[in-house]
């Protein structure tokens, strides 16, 4: 596709369950970012991939959160033992390269609801 694709668009789960959120970036984009947006707030950085490696995971809130990008394209954000506080919209963005002065293009997000 032409843009960043995120699936599922909505995910409802129960507290304590495991979830995976998928991001398919724009073809040819080497940089991939995950953000989390809580209600009434701006997106907050979680993790950045350059190629297959996580170059910066300083935004991950705790060790229940993990992300991979094994082939340098599609990325999966994994959340273990979900908590109600994890409920938010998870946004993925990609850019041609990482670093300052790059334009990040966002997907529509996955709305995660933890009951």
């Amino acid at each position: 596709g032409a843009g960043v694709s995120q699936t599922p668009s909505n995910k409802v789960t129960e507290k304590g369950k495991y979830v995976e959120l998928r991001c398919d970036p724009i073809s040819g984009h080497t940089a991939l970012y995950w953000y989390r947006q809580s209600l009434g707030q701006g997106p907050e950085f979680l993790i950045y991939f350059q190629g297959t490696g996580a170059a910066d995971d300083s935004g991950l809130p705790n060790d229940r959160f993990f992300a991979v990008r094994p082939e340098g394209s599609v990325s999966t954000l994994k959340i273990q033992r979900t908590e109600r506080g994890d409920s938010a919209v998870y946004l993925c963005a990609s850019s041609l390269w990482g670093g300052s002065k790059n334009i990040q293009y966002f997907g529509a997000g996955t709305r995660l609801s933890v009951l």
Partner: protein
Amino acid sequence: DQQVKQNSPSLSVQEGRISILNCDYTNSMFDYFLWYKKYPAEGPTFLISISSIKDKNEDGRFTVFLNKSAKHLSLHIVPSQPGDSAVYFCAASEVAGGTSYGKLTFGQGTILTVHP
């Protein structure tokens, strides 16, 4: 600590008038600033950006002004149209060559409503 702040949660303007959205930042390492627009159930869409070496960038109806000494930027939309109604986010990234890898720090957003 909120490094990027948009102090106006909402703004309402009449069609054809100017909309001015404001943003303040505290981190002096920020060197690139962007505005994104977001419609409900969609991801943020890039609108316009400005580098810290400039004080103004214009693209059609949209102009961004940067005042580095005041650590303030603003987005001007003129003339405003009803289709401009959306949430507007200010974002910033740190200097190239640093360890930020271009990650964006966002403000809280301003809801713009343009009335016909």
